[in-house]
Amino acid sequence: MSVRVYVPCDAAAVSVGADAVAKAIADQIASRRLGATLVRNGSRGMFWLEPLVEVETPQGRVAYGPVSADAVSGLFDAGFLEGKPHALRLGPTEEIPFLKHQERLTFARCGVTDPLSLSDYMSHGGYRGLEKALKLTPQAIVEEVTNSGLRGRGGAGFPTGIKWRTVLNAPADQKYIVCNADEGDSGTYADRMIMEGDPFVLIEGMTIAAIAVGATSGYIYLRSEYPHAFRTLKRAIAIAHNKGYLGANVAGSGKRFDLDVRLGAGAYICGEETSLLESLEGKRGQIRFKPPLPAIEGLFGKPTVVNNVISLATVPIILDKGGAYYRDFGMGRSRGTLTIQLAGNIKHGGLVEKAFGLTLRDAIYDFGGGTASGRPLRAVQVGGPLGAYFPESLLDTPLDYEAFIERKGMLGHGGIVVFDDTVDLARQARFAMEFCAVESCGKCTPCRVGSTRGVEVIDKIIANQDRTQNLELLGDLCEVLTDGSLCALGGLIPYPVQSAIRHFSEDFQKPAPPPPASGSNKAQETQSWR
């Protein structure tokens, strides 16, 4: 058997040169006439080690990284095909502490297999969940998902099983499964990784959802910023279709399920489920009033399951191993695993799948190794641009939905963005309002107008104009946004703003910065950047 050499095709790995490394390895294999095969796998999620090259040896896979194209020839000289020593050798992949101490359920195959090899997928437990689901009644499938305690991983944390039950019980001639792959939160990339690294698990999860609720058609709504994932999903869907796992007769069951990928067009708000549905229908991505819930009147007015990528990609293992197996991980009402994404100013940035309950501190220091800059950590934003900024003193908060809510924060999609002591939280608060102004869909006044007013008020606070009154005004404005907005964008944008004021008040009390020399900088900064 020829040696297999793995170089990730994940967009992040490619962003630091994985394609050039893969080409250099292929060239060396050819010119040295070696019996080795190059495999493009997903990423293991240890991004500071990318491009991470692995070699399959009789003792298991051995990792080398970060590998540059220039280093490839030297690796061959050192005998890396036999796993021999080299300055870049990291040892057996599974023994790297970052990976070893994880509990990979949803991401079990990501980085291990060739994402577009259905036989790889099957030999690593793929489609066992669907096989079991096809032997169950729809009610029993929904029951299994409900029992697992799985909650929406997109951020809202709504129990997935309850959503499915509502759609199952809604009578209709047509139902839909929609996957929300509009992963717009800064600091998050788990959806992208699984779509690029193990696309069949998402397809399988959506197929199980379809069988459970009686849907025959599904869409993955993917953000346009992910062209790489788009190509992978298109190819994976075609493969699944050709092999009889999608289409008129899913796995010989006589049941139909058609699946397509649709691209968004750069609107953050389309990650909100009703905006997403509007967008899928070909309209402006403006949010809808609820009720009716999408589970009753969703896509094209039909009952629709809208779930996040990670929620759906977790369904196969729940069906395969049972709801109880999954529920045994986690704490309190947060069951199973969380896909933590370490991001921003962090030494060891990457994906950590771990049972709920790990503390922020352990995630950032034990896994992440502290800041990338080596400077002291000052603030952490969890849960994307609508999440709160936490100071060092809150780092012992466990990663758990309820624990974050108690501390006026939000776990969201599990993204953790670390900032060192050079951060200015007044600027971050201003950015939150600015972002909301750029991305507001415009439907409700608090968000549409309030966000722009928020930028102006924070500018005045920074400029030390009537600071006390303006801070009070900002508090009132945040209250209006919280209580009066139609969706989570306007409703949660006060989180980063108010947490910045609450925990970092000194940043709002600095002397006013000197006015810009020509006045042009100011004009530039207040434009909407679009």
């Binding site: 967009a11 992040a12 490619v14 962003s15 630091v16 991004f47 500071w48 717009g184 939160d185 800064s186 600091g187 998050t188 990339y189 959806d191 992208r192 346009s224 910023e225 992910y226 062209p227 790489h228 649709r262 691209l263 968004g264 067009a265 750069g266 609107a267 967008s279 899928l280 229908e281 070909g282 309209k283 402006r284 991505g285 403006q286 094209f300 994404q341 370490l342 991001a343 921003g344 100013n345 962090i346 940035g349 990457g350 990338a372 934003q381 641009p385 993204g415 963005v417 060192d420 951060v423 971050q428 950015f431 972002f435 750029v438 991305e439 869909c441 530039q524 434009q527 950047w529 679009r530």
Partner: protein
Amino acid sequence: MSNKQRWDADRALSLIRELEHLPGALLPILHALQDEFGYVDKAAIPLIAEALNLSHAEVHGVISFYHDFRHHPSGNHVLKMCRAEACQSMGCDKTIRHVENRLGVHLGETTEDGSFTVDAVYCLGNCALSPAVMLDGKLYGRVSPEVAEFLIDSAQRHA
């Protein structure tokens, strides 16, 4: 990205015909037009409206809602620079300022010679390798001012 076709109504119509049968066909059609021509020409609006039985205003409303769709041709190269939180924490502002100075444009603008369009984006999903940019559809990580300089130079060489 300099391989974009000049606006051509017949070609646009045939792209529309290929996709008009899809449920919710408008976004796929707009993406197809922009992929082909680099922007969505005003002249496409009546063609789309006719094919999908929509008003001109409805089509225009959708085009203007989404950040992606351009009303004018882009530069030969499109550089999308992330300015979301994770990239901020790693100094994306510095890289952005550097690129703006180098090319003489602000975010959202195209250089006078039409070689570059520089856009702001909010997250490219490369947040463990910040700052991130996307140049002509290709993602790059850890983009310091020096790396940005290198990317612009190599793009210009292959103009």
